[in-house]
Amino acid sequence: MSVAVCPECDAEVAVDVGTRVAEIIECGDCRVELEVIGMDPPVLSQAPEVEEDWGE
């Protein structure tokens, strides 16, 4: 497991080894959704807002 910094609240966020780029995780402190944009080392950014045409 690695640790990255939440861009919203600066809290440390645990990133599991099996995490993939473009995966969404949640900050345990501020609960904001974060997108994993890099894994070596892990880097997080705020997840994009859901758009009107998203779905299955």
Partner: protein, 287 residues
């Protein structure tokens, strides 16, 4: 875009449980794949190639998914699901027409080119009914209307929306169903299994808090789901069936980028959806 030996590409801008399971299945099978983030994707007309040979289109945005599928097919790739299937499944009216053309049971629906015409269409369909956006998923903005007064108010809001496409109105008969619907996943012409989706509210979408439970898939429902997937041209489909109080089953919708995390959890060891998807892609690559 991809090395010549690269066979499989996963196109997705968001990696969720389903995409992770599919990536893990690729790895288990020793299948070389890459992941393209649709937000970084572009293609020059005429194709600079080499295009990936088989693309699994898991893009979450319908417009991005549709354009990517068409462009990649034109560049020579096999895209699963195809651009045609993505277009049909992504549009409720085209889905209705595809199911009807195949003679499959689906709730009565009407298309109206203006919100005003939508009110007249609702008189024809009858109340209670549902007003749905043509494009969209997860039950978003799907509105039940019990009577003309409510419908007129909803359609007034629809008319105030800014996008011209929002003014095309799709209305559908509200099936007096049980407190659940049935999700069947079809891969390569085979129904893998079924789950019940239950919800405390009238929409049973898992994205709305609906819960998946194992359901024994009967032969008739399996046949209907496979026929529905065929009708829309989808290799991989999440077919939603709805059962009315008299036991009649009809096809509510067919999803081309099926979310199966809840389905998989409910199925347990009975079926491995990601594995079946990857094996199907391998079959397509070999053909």
């Amino acid at each position: 875009m991809a090395s010549p030996e690269q066979v499989f590409t996963l196109l997705a801008s968001r990696v969720r449980t389903e995409e992770k399971l599919i990536m893990a299945a690729f790895e288990r099978h020793g299948a070389s794949f890459d992941h393209i983030d649709a937000r970084n994707f572009f293609i020059v007309s005429g194709g600079l190639g080499p295009a990936p040979r088989v693309v699994l289109n898991r893009e979450i945005g319908q417009f991005r998914a549709g354009y990517a599928a068409g462009a990649l097919e034109n560049a020579g790739a096999t895209v699963v699901n195809s651009a045609a299937a993505t277009a049909v499944c992504g549009d409720k009216w085209l889905t209705t027409e595809a199911l009807r053309n195949r003679g499959l049971p689906t709730p009565r629906a009407a298309l109206a080119l203006t919100p005003e015409a939508g009110l007249a269409a609702l008189e024809e369909i009858g109340y209670p009914a549902v007003i749905k956006p043509l494009v969209g998923s997860w039950g978003r903005l799907v509105t039940p209307v019990a009577d003309r007064q409510t419908a007129a108010a909803v359609l007034e809001h629809v008319a105030a929306l800014s996008s011209p496409q929002s003014h095309i109105v799709y209305v559908q008969q509200l099936v007096p169903k049980l407190d659940r619907d049935i999700r069947v996943i079809v891969v390569g012409g085979e129904a893998l299994g079924a789950t019940y989706r239950r919800s405390p509210e009238w929409r049973t979408n898992v994205a709305r808090g609906g819960v998946s439970e194992y359901c024994e898939l009967g032969q008739e429902n399996a046949k209907l789901a496979v026929a529905a997937a065929e009708a829309v041209g989808a290799d991989i489909a999440g077919v939603d069936l709805v059962e009315d109080g008299d036991g009649r089953v009809s096809v509510l919708e067919v999803n081309h980028r099926v979310e199966f995390a809840g389905f998989q959890a409910a199925q347990g060891d009975r079926v491995d959806v990601a594995d079946r998807i990857v094996r199907h892609l391998m079959t397509r690559a070999a053909s």
